[in-house]
């Protein structure tokens, strides 16, 4: 009798339960990227939604198939008083359910970043469907326009933005790291900065828009403090030890050209020391360099030449990082986590000064020391086509 009831119960459970929260893959609108812009007191939420039907199937005709030339994504933006409300309004114009688990890129418009990201990040971190592993980027100008770039290289502009977020530093900034930095005492978040670049194919062709990695955006608390571009961005990555095989140009010691060096295995070590009221941070940079281009007549063949050039390189690297740190201090932004470092090393000191770290931070003294080694002059020891006797020492 028991067994019979058990079987009946199983059948009933199977039949009645059905698949009530079944959500087929084709009932779902996959959001691949989203952007938030600030418009006055309101938010403009932009979504980039993949259209699988337009994607065209590999090696097969028939089925969905879209008209040629249509992009496999949809971009829509709505203004509302909160991001969530904007999304709900967008949902009303969609036949499929918005699904955020595959959003891997999150763009913050410049204006949003300036007015504070805490209110925006809240909705992202609160709902589990939003992945903490999605990459966060700040855009130059409105994020909506960046999201709407052509980016013909990838299937979606989102994909391009994602690749840029990964390429920006060796440990990419995700929602998780940004939230961590927001929560942490004595550390500010930073994100890659992207913008739009128009291609220049000459007069005969229409230019297209691409995404471009413009530098880094650094925050002060949850507000954008400023942008670091070019050498400054590079300097910050050096200070963090997060470069991805960067190439730097150095003037040749012979003074007649430039030499390019690519660096690998770059690390940085920061040690704070507190003496009385004075906080000093020793920043030691290490890397191994390979000469990748030399358009001067300076030969690295001899040890003496090599040492001289190494010295030049170290001086340049150190000054680059020093300049960066100075700018960071001027902006009042601490993405290097100096406060955190002091907190860990000198908890008592931090207890005293932590509360007014913002005023103490610009007073921190940085001692930057570069210990870069050149280990490989490349496949050529001496410049090509220059007679040995003419080569400068």
């Amino acid at each position: 009798m028991d067994r019979r009831w058990g079987i009946k119960l199983c059948v009933v459970v199977l039949l009645l339960s059905g698949c009530w929260d079944r959500r087929e893959i084709n009932d779902v609108a996959f959001v691949v990227a989203s952007a938030v812009d600030r418009e006055g007191k309101q938010y403009r939420a932009t979504l980039q939604i993949a259209l699988p039907g337009q994607m065209g199937r590999v090696g097969g005709k028939g089925g969905g198939g879209g008209t040629a030339g249509r992009r496999p994504y949809l971009i829509d933006s709505v203004v509302a008083s909160s991001v969530r409300e904007a999304n709900d309004r967008q949902q009303k114009a969609l036949s499929r359910q918005l699904y955020f688990a595959h959003r891997r890129v999150f763009l913050l418009g410049e204006e949003t970043a300036r007015t504070g990201i805490e209110s925006v990040v809240d909705v992202l971190a609160r709902v589990p469907q939003n992945r903490l592993s999605s990459y966060v980027l700040v855009t130059e100008g409105p994020a909506r326009d960046v999201l709407a770039a052509d980016a013909p290289m990838e299937q979606f502009p989102a994909e391009m933005a994602r690749e840029m977020a990964i390429a920006a530093s060796s440990s990419p900034q995700t929602l998780k790291t940004v939230v961590e930095a927001l929560i942490a005492e004595g550390r500010d978040p930073f994100t890659p900065l992207i913008g739009i670049r128009r291609t220049d194919p000459g007069p005969s062709r229409e230019p297209e828009t691409l995404l471009e990695l413009k530098g880094l955006a650094v925050f002060r608390g949850d507000r954008l403090a400023g942008f670091l571009k070019e050498k400054r961005a590079m300097g910050m990555l050096w200070a963090l030890g997060q470069t991805r095989a960067p190439t730097l140009e150095f003037p040749s010691p012979s003074g007649d050209g430039f030499m390019s060096v690519q660096f690998r295995e770059q690390t940085a070590a920061m040690t704070p020391t507190v003496q009385g009221e004075r906080i000093t941070v020793h920043l030691v940079l290490r890397a191994r360099g390979t000469l990748v281009e030399n358009n001067s007549r300076y030969a690295l063949g001899s040890d003496r030449n090599l040492a001289r050039f190494e010295e030049n390189v170290n001086r340049e690297v150190a000054s680059m990082v020093t300049e960066t740190v100075k700018q960071l201090q001027a902006l009042g932004s601490d993405p290097l986590g100096i406060g955190d470092l002091v907190h860990r090393r000198y908890p008592q000191v931090w207890h005293r000064i932590g509360r007014n770290w913002e005023t103490r931070y610009p007073e921190v003294k940085f001692v930057v020391e570069s210990r870069v080694r050149l280990i490989n002059p490349g496949a050529l020891v001496e410049p090509l086509g220059v007679p040995t006797d003419v080569q400068q020492e």
Partner: protein, 547 residues
């Protein structure tokens, strides 16, 4: 031994073959030639029990007109024994070897005994006279004569004596020893059992030349009189298990045994389990290896498939070649089979669950390409998967039964229809075809057919669970299967033996196959006092000095 007491099969299917109180307790041999189950009484049984009459004509009439009435293949032939006394030679055409009979029975009777005194022609004397090559026996009743004749022997009745002589002149055509088509190996012996029990057992005896190899014989099947043999290695197998096997075998009463599957269904522990509790093989080397590990085997006349037990779940994934090839290869292939076995069980269910509930579990680009492939598909994933799996099973079944020439056409048709046309027509999606074919391939990697089919069967409920409850459902299904496997026993030995209960020494031969010199002890759980099977420290080493 397991904690649970051994049990007699109590779930044997009800029906015509079940034991009746009247016949209970009698051995199969005693029930010989009785009307048997479901046969109308014709008075035959009573007739068979009668003693043979001394008058030959009476015996002849009874044999021809009553016992073997309308049996065209039974030959009742008159002859003169020693040229003087009437005799009756009875045999079955085709079963008795004509040459053997001529040489060993007819010629001596007709010529060599011509000079013998009349008194020497009594069956007792004749049996001692060196007649025949095989065994000669004396029978008293019609039954004795009839049984012998039906078994392929020749029976001789001599006028004036109420007895018969039976000569072993068995012949009959049987398939020769061939390579077993169901278990092909790249490396290993190529001979397989055939339908003749004597030949099959002799193949086994050739591998195990020891008096410890015991073979106990029964006759089963009231009408078929099939010889059934229980084989084991005394001192290696657990005597309790053997006793239990004997008990279960002796309780069988059935009208016919045509394949070892008949026996299997009577003696397995849990008939409702999808998993086989006895495995079968038609390879003497496989069966010999099982006996050496302490298991027993059951062989029957008329089928090349020998059963062996107690078995564990892991044996479903084992092939003889695991042990013949070098251990790294054996280990790799075995673990591959395990992985593919799990794939054949879970893959469609996982796919359905992920597609219907957990779209966040796949990488974005994979998810999008699946989504774009599914864009035009009119069915939900569960329906699509069930449809495809069923048509795949149908295709496989059609291919198995059909003759080779037609089978090829079917497989081409199936591949075209299911693999291509259905995708192009937008009825099924290409990823689903990949999943189904991967599952199909995976299920073919499981070497034991009855094990593979049990995994294949369980796939469908798992798919249903995956399609209704998502991963939670699959987890529940897997849990249910796991609990069932933990609970299942084969002749009292836990089905997951080695893992649950865990035995470290057994791990050498479950998921991987350790080198032979490392497997010093037989698998545990099979009982047997002495588990050592080789000397220790036999790992080969290169000599330390170089020459």
């Amino acid at each position: 031994m397991g904690n649970r007491p051994l049990r007699l099969p109590c779930h044997a299917p009800a029906g015509a073959v079940r034991i009746t109180a009247a016949t209970q307790g009698k051995t199969a041999t005693e029930a010989l030639c009785r009307g048997g189950f479901g046969v109308q009484a014709t008075g035959l049984d009573e007739l068979l029990d009668q003693a043979l009459p001394p008058v030959l004509t009476e015996a002849r009439r009874t044999l021809e007109q009553h016992i073997f009435k309308d049996c065209a293949d039974i030959v009742v032939q008159s002859m003169l024994v020693g040229g003087r006394v009437g005799g009756l030679l009875v045999y079955t055409r085709g079963l008795a070897d004509a040459d053997l009979m001529a040489d060993n029975v007819v010629r001596p009777l007709l010529f060599e005994l011509a000079e013998a005194p009349l008194s020497d022609l009594s069956p007792e004397r004749l049996s001692g006279a060196g007649l025949g090559s095989g065994s000669v026996a004396v029978g008293q009743t019609y039954k004795d004569a009839a049984v012998a004749v039906l078994d392929g022997k020749a029976a001789l009745l001599v006028d004036g004596y109420g007895q018969c002589l039976t000569f072993d002149v068995k012949g009959g055509k049987r398939r020769s020893v061939e390579e077993p088509p169901s278990e092909v190996v790249v490396r290993g012996p190529r001979e397989g059992f055939n339908e003749d029990l004597s030949t099959s057992v002799s193949l086994l005896r050739l591998k195990l030349r020891t008096p410890r190899l015991k073979a106990i014989q029964w006759r089963m099947g009231a009408q078929t009189q099939t010889r059934v043999m229980l084989l084991y290695l005394e001192g290696v197998a657990d005597s309790e298990v053997i006793a239990e096997a004997r008990r279960r075998l002796e309780a069988i009463e059935i009208d016919g045994v045509l394949e070892s599957g008949y026996i299997e269904s009577f003696i397995e522990d849990l008939p409702w389990s999808p998993f086989p509790q006895l495995l079968n093989s038609e390879r003497p080397d496989t069966v010999a290896a099982q006996l050496l590990e302490g298991r027993f085997a059951i062989m029957i006349d008329g089928s090349p498939f020998a059963l062996y037990a107690p078995v564990t779940f892991w044996q479903i994934f084992q092939t003889p070649e695991d042990y013949y090839e070098r251990f790294l290869i054996g280990s790799f292939l075995r673990s591959l089979r395990l992985v593919f076995g799990m794939i054949s069980l879970f893959l469609p269910a996982l796919y359905v669950a992920v597609i219907t509930f957990h779209q966040d579990m796949l990488p974005t680009s994979l998810m999008l390409s699946i989504a774009s492939a599914r864009e035009a598909i009119p069915f939900p994933a569960l329906v699509e998967a069930t449809m495809m799996e069923l048509s795949f099973e149908g295709l496989r079944e059609a291919g198995v039964r059909l003759p080779k020439t037609v089978g090829q056409a079917v497989s081409i048709l199936g591949a075209l229809v299911i693999g291509q046309a259905a995708v192009e027509a937008g009825i099924v999606s290409a990823p689903m075809v990949i999943i189904v074919s991967l599952t199909g391939i995976a299920s073919f990697t499981v070497p034991h057919f009855n094990g593979a089919i049990s995994l294949r069967l369980l796939r469908f409920p798992l798919m249903l669970l995956g399609g209704t409850f998502g991963l939670v459902g699959i987890a529940l299904g897997a849990l249910w299967i796991g609990i069932h496997l933990c609970w299942l026993r084969s002749f009292g030995v836990p089905y997951l033996s080695g893992v649950a209960p865990f035995r470290a020494s057994d791990a050498k031969d479950l998921l991987i196959r350790a080198p032979w010199w490392a497997m010093v002890r037989r698998p545990g759980g099979l009982g047997g006092a002495n588990r050592r099977r080789m000397g220790r420290g036999q790992k080969p080493q290169a000599p330390s000095s170089r020459r």
